[in-house]
Symmetry: C2
Subunit: 341 residues, 2 copies
């Protein structure tokens, strides 16, 4: 007989876009409700580049969560590393409580126009991060013009391997991996781990352009082939501590998705944990959900595991069509698990 | 010095969706202006299944073109072949002037819910078509559930080869091919030719989901890899008479493209011939455009080549954002050629 409730250590979403302003106010509550901590992406508009930016942005996030009664939520702050980042800025960021630096190769996704063009030139920055035990989070796609969308992750591996070997004590996370090959590469590199999103455990390219064209399933890196999804599912449920949850929830207003040129990003925060439970249950690996969501990420980050717990109950609910003008992932579909209120 | 005008035999668009009702009224003029003849797809709503349907639909098309002053335009009528088509219906269709039967495997594109599930059961129909010298037009994608979108064309080849070998005198057109492998397969089969659209000479998957998500570049079969596009360009400009123009212009109202689940289809009719001229010129093969558009298709169909001519002049124009609520292909972009008025 299947369990009707599950109790987990409250987990960490180690890759999350909360945005700023009105969208932040709409979305923060979903993450705070389901996760004790979340790694907050810095590619906001304007971006989070310095210690000063972090202090301001963290305050905005706290204000939002406190207003909603989620005082215990802990945003893990990051800065965006670009061509103008200096080792001194890393030192300052560390003092301001920044846990990680995020690198976007130039132009690979939303708000990455200011991204990195020359990884080699950033080695002094990476060295300082290694010294200060700050994590390096990588959007792992090649920014080279003309690289075909389905090949971009693979074409980034040489850069990843070079950094990982040059800085053997730098903790590196290859974010939101989408291919079987990424699972292989991450498995082989001692100081590298990877986040996996919930939508990449569910989608393939078929769910974006295989039937109708579905902008709300569209993200970067784009979901790949069925074989890739299978390997991602295996990695997530394997018990290998190199693979843990980072949702990459990335809200965009509906009008910026359902239009001539729609933005990349899947807003999965409202459904994350219930959907993960459903997926792990379908794989007969529900007992490994806590590893993936609540233990492995904290361990790799070097953070204490959380002490709070969260309960899920098995009770159907239909995912709403939108929240404040933002269409959530699997809108209109029925989920079998929900957070116990 | 480059030519500032080109004069061609007025060509044939051997794959065209004109729809019915209001959309027909909006779009027919673009095809009639640029082409002497067009093969009219039968997957309208309701579909064109019988001689009777054809007579009615042809009348609607003529009315539309005549109203707009395009009295010389000649629609080449087709019926949709589905599981309920009989040899007798073929005989009747032939008498009504139908030139071809179009097969959609079930569910592969817009209005194909009623498509074919069992090709073997249709062999008596194909035999009658062979006897009556009626062409068989194939949407070449496997309808099997679970076949990955980028593999669907390739997975159809075994069906194509079986039909081509069973009916060696049946003229078969593999429509809107999208892969290098399709070029190879068509090249090897004596009684098979292929249409190539103008958008598949320009797009890859990158133009649909490589940057933003672009519903107006989304069609079935979906545009594939850069290597595939390169082979399609070679085939179209090669002078091989097996490859000729079929635009697959497929208009949808903007609200059915820019939405949660957008329809497949590129509305290229307003830009077809100028864009083809531009592409052939960029390949230094402008002298082969007439083969592709005005000769090879007619020859394969067994129709006389047209005697009218059409002139293009080199003069920039910006493609409008929409026509009657339908967004055309490359809307907002500048084209260097235009039809001489």
């Amino acid at each position: 007989m299947k369990a009707e409730t599950i109790k987990l250590i409250k987990g960490d979403d180690l890759h999350c876009h909360l945005r700023r302003g009105k969208i932040l106010e709409s979305v923060a509550i979903f993450t705070a409700r389901q996760f004790k901590r979340a790694t907050i992406m810095p590619n906001t508009n304007p971006p989070i580049l310095t210690a000063e930016d972090v202090i301001k942005y963290r305050h905005e996030i706290y204000e939002c969560c406190w207003d909603d009664g989620w005082k215990e939520f802990e945003p893990l702050m990051t800065i965006q590393i670009n061509d103008y980042t200096t080792p001194k800025m890393i030192t300052q960021a560390k003092r301001a409580g920044v846990i990680a630096g995020k690198v976007y190769p130039q132009g690979v996704t939303t708000n990455s126009q200011n991204g990195v063009t020359n990884f080699g030139a950033l080695y002094p920055v990476f060295r300082e991060m290694q010294n200060l035990n700050m994590l390096l989070l990588l959007h792992g796609e090649s920014p080279k013009p003309g690289v075909f969308c389905l090949d971009r992750e693979e074409k980034f591996f040489s850069t990843l391997v070079a950094i990982a070997e040059e800085f053997p004590k730098l903790k590196i996370v290859l974010e939101h991996i989408t291919t079987g090959k990424a699972v292989q590469v991450v498995s082989m590199l001692k100081n590298v781990a990877a986040t996996i999103t919930v939508h990449h455990l569910l989608l393939t390219l078929d769910d974006i352009v295989g039937g109708f064209i579905s902008p709300h399933n569209f993200c970067k890196p784009i979901a790949k082939r069925p074989e890739d999804k299978k390997v991602l599912l295996m990695a997530a449920t394997s018990g290998n501590p190199k693979f843990f949850y980072g949702g990459d929830s990335a809200p965009h207003l509906k009008e910026n998705k359902e239009c001539r040129q729609g933005c990349a990003g899947v807003f999965n925060a409202p459904v994350a944990l219930p959907l993960l439970a459903q997926i792990f249950e379908e794989c007969n690996k529900l007992d490994r959900l806590e590893n993936f969501v609540s233990k492995f990420g904290a361990d790799f980050y070097g953070l204490p595991r959380n002490s709070e717990t969260i309960e899920l109950i098995k009770k159907d609910w239909v995912v709403p069509d939108e929240y404040d003008g933002i269409v959530p992932f699997i809108a209109g579909q029925t989920l079998h698990w929900q957070i116990a209120s």
